[in-house]
Symmetry: C2
Subunit: 230 residues, 2 copies
């Protein structure tokens, strides 16, 4: 049985001891790839054998879990984003009902989260423009998902209640990408550069304030973009 997906939860029976072990080495492979991708630079410059070695497993055992490195890459994106989504969900819950957007504290929270989960974020920002198209698309899908969620959250805030979905998505897209840019800059920082970290954070806070300043002025009916000439 070649498992494109993680060992099914209850394939019909109780949690097998064997399945549990299999899940363990599968996770070991994923972790190994994440660690190596960090120090090596990206998935693309990683060999199957390296990953297997780091995971403490013989190369051919790799195939019991993934067809190739592409499939592992996809699984890694899923794995990383699953945890990420849970955190975001909690943040959304706790922010629900707030009558305005607390930019400063949100950004600070985000920065802390990025720094704590730096391995995951480094992986995502790397592979977002990485060498493997399927992985790239998977990351793009996840980002689009976050954009959608943010847009629907914004809808709950007074000034955006009546805004057309297109424009709301446009704004959410701008916000998400500004934040991703911050994350990428943070991760490029050498270890323990708190000063520079504060500078970057402060700049992003200003940028988001400016964006929301613009968003409050935004008049959808005047925002139409003419079709291109020709």
């Amino acid at each position: 049985m070649n498992s494109r997906n993680p060992p099914e939860r209850t394939p019909g029976r109780s949690p097998n001891l064997r399945d549990e072990r299999k899940l363990q080495t599968r996770q070991a492979l994923l972790d190994a790839a994440l660690v190596l991708a960090r120090q090596g630079g990206s998935l693309a410059s990683l060999s199957l054998r390296e990953v297997a070695r780091e995971a403490g497993v013989v190369p051919t055992a790799f195939y019991r879990h993934f067809r190739d490195m592409d499939e592992l890459g996809l699984a890694l994106v899923d794995d990383v984003c699953l945890r990420l989504r849970q955190i975001i969900r909690e943040a959304r819950m706790s922010a629900r009902g707030a009558r305005d957007i607390a930019i400063q504290s949100s950004v600070r929270g985000f920065v802390q989260y990025v720094l704590v989960n730096d391995r995951a974020f480094e992986f995502l920002t790397r592979e977002r423009f990485g060498a493997r198209p399927v992985v790239r698309q998977a990351v793009a899908r996840e980002i689009q998902y976050f954009v959608g969620e943010l847009a629907s959250d914004l809808r709950a805030v007074a000034p955006f209640a009546a805004m057309p979905s297109d424009d709301l998505e446009m704004i959410a897209h701008l916000v998400v990408h500004t934040v991703l840019s911050l994350s990428a800059d943070l991760l490029e920082l050498p270890e323990g550069q708190r000063v520079r970290e504060h500078e970057l954070t402060a700049r992003a806070i200003k940028q988001l304030r400016l964006i929301f300043l613009g968003a409050l002025q935004w008049r959808p009916e005047r925002g139409a973009v003419a079709p291109p000439p020709g």
Copy 2:
């Protein structure tokens, strides 16, 4: 026997025929790397031998020009950004004296430029977060250079004349990264997706309008960001 060559810019000595040939194969190596990096995904997944092969040269000849792939990567960034800078400089010249910022036509021009020079832009967006730190830093330097230029251009526009440099850079940074995000999205498009291309362009135009809307409202003295708690 072409002894009456057009006068080269004679960097140190006379325009050697041998030096000229050397420059040719050097360029062939750079071009080969650019082409392969496009289809292969990134520099990191490229081998020295592949590049030499594509350039029509024996592997060991590579060392006559670059110490390793890292050095070639740096040269490629320089090469690509040199051309890019020239174009940008022309655009700045022709825009000088304009009393306002023509967002729509600027973005349209940029989009055309990206699509024409897709190989170069794909390379830059890929390596910006790529596996090789030195290359990444080189790209970051170039982007920072563009941010600086834009900031100094903005200073010439009335509403920004008196703005603190920090805030002006913050805005320029936001603009540049929004435009880079557009470029990355464009390049991800499958061949000849004009409709989607127009959508992406329209969204970016809106985003820039919104940014400038916010920028006009920006009050530097109220934008101070409190130091982080703790």
